[in-house]
């Protein structure tokens, strides 16, 4: 409740502090009825009636930004000179020279001056605004101001439309320009030389393929592949002829049929052989001979010295 009092009573100061104090930022406060204490009457202002964005605040932001950038770049240049400029060693930061201290002091003074200037400017701007608001309550002046407002709004609307059109044109220009610039840059980059500098083996050593594969859903991937369309795009003729060139179909057929017919012939021959033995044994029995070795096989290579009987 006190905070609300302070913000409402010290409107200007609160507004100035809003920029520096994020916790007290430009947040919307809930609508509240007027409060009256024994010392002060507080009138809460609705969102619509809150202080409008002032030029001073915008200028202060720009100035802060500019000063920050200047400070940073000065610091960076100093660091660069300290580090890389030949001849001098790194300075002793714990014992800066008088000139450096003066420079830092000047920066501090500039910052304080800036803050005060903008505080004053904001106060003036707010005062003028409040004066205008007050004057607006006087009927005659209000009529004049309404006319001026209407005129201002009209011009502002005009400005908005024109600004939007130009922004659009610039956007289109940039959109066309950026790819052209990138294309130009890419044309001038020798990708091969860049790739030569990349150590792919080292890169691949760092990649855990197994983990990568765990993340891949093969089934889902395969379900998205249109196999029919794929097969239509594959020319099967040359592939088949290549395969047929490599596979000796004739040889396979010859071999298999040869072995089949060979088996049948072998079977018939073996049957004849067994019958030979059987018939010979029968003859031997009829001739009352026993144990005759009609077929001294077991010597596959015929013995030239063997005589017939």
């Amino acid at each position: 409740m006190r905070i609300t009092e302070l913000k409402s009573t010290k409107l200007t100061g609160a507004f100035v502090n809003q920029w520096h104090d994020p916790s007290a930022g430009l947040q919307e406060s809930p609508p509240m009825p007027d409060l009256t204490t024994h010392s002060v009457r507080v009138r809460t202002v609705s969102q619509r009636e809150q202080a409008p964005a002032t030029i001073s605040a915008a200028a202060q932001r720009a100035s802060d930004l500019g000063l920050g950038a200047v400070t940073l770049s000065t610091k960076a240049i100093g660091d660069l000179l300290d580090r890389y400029w030949p001849g001098e060693g790194p300075p002793n930061r714990a014992n800066p020279s008088i000139a450096r201290r003066l420079a830092r002091a000047a920066t501090g003074m500039a910052l304080v001056t800036e803050r005060r200037v903008f505080a004053t400017g904001t106060a003036v701007e707010q005062g003028a605004q409040r004066a205008l608001e007050t004057a607006r309550r006087v009927p005659l002046i209000r009529d004049v101001l309404v006319g001026i407002d209407a005129s201002l709004d009209r011009w502002a609307g005009h400005a908005d439309i024109e600004t939007a059109r130009r922004e659009q044109a610039v956007s289109a220009f940039v959109i066309q320009l950026v790819p052209a610039i990138i294309d130009g840059v890419l044309e001038r980059i020798d990708i091969n030389s860049v790739l030569d500098r990349v150590d792919l083996d080292r890169l691949l050593d760092q990649v855990d393929i197994d983990r990568l594969l765990e993340h891949i859903d093969i089934d889902r991937m395969m379900s998205r592949i249109d196999l029919d369309a794929l097969m239509q795009r594959i020319e099967l003729g040359p592939i088949v002829s290549d395969v047929l060139d490599d596979v000796d179909i004739g040889g396979i057929v010859r071999e298999s049929t040869g072995s089949i017919t060979g088996d049948a012939v072998d079977s018939a021959r073996l049957t004849a052989m067994r019958l030979d033995g059987f018939v010979g044994r029968v003859a031997d029995r009829i001739l009352l001979r026993g144990g005759t070795d009609r077929n001294p096989a077991s010597n596959p290579a015929p013995n030239p010295n063997e005589a017939e009987t």
């Binding site: 072998d266 021959r269 030979d276 018939v279 010979g280 015929p302 030239p304 010295n305 017939e308």
Partner: protein, 161 residues
Amino acid sequence: MARTIRNDQAAALQGGRAGFVSRVIADAIDLVVVEVIFLAILLGVGTVRFLLTRRNFSVAAPDLWVTAVAQWLILVIYLTTTWSSTGRSVGKSVLGLRVLDRAGRQLTTLRAFLRAVFCAVFYPTLLWIFVSRRNAALHDILLGTQVRYDWTTTHVVPPPT
């Protein structure tokens, strides 16, 4: 390349003297082959005659004695050439047999011719196989030849010149 024999009994009998049944079957096949050759000759003669004379195509039907003599001649020539070359006629090739001389070599042309004539005239001498202790027919004994089981040999020792 020599082929492999899958049956153990057949492999064990390789090189042994062929018995009666195998040789009779082989000779029967050879007779069929001779008939086929004779028929082919008749057809060839008929075709040539048709082409030369322009008469209707007809196969000659020679007299019985002509047929017998012709077939006998074909048989002798056929057996002589096959035995004196590879030792196998078609029938013996089917049955896996090979005709060799007593020393296991290829027959000379003369010996093959005499054997062919003897077989073509006195075929029943094959029955001597039963009497022989070593599966030898009478003509084998007289002409010094033998018939062996031989499924795998690709190279026959030539006869001495």
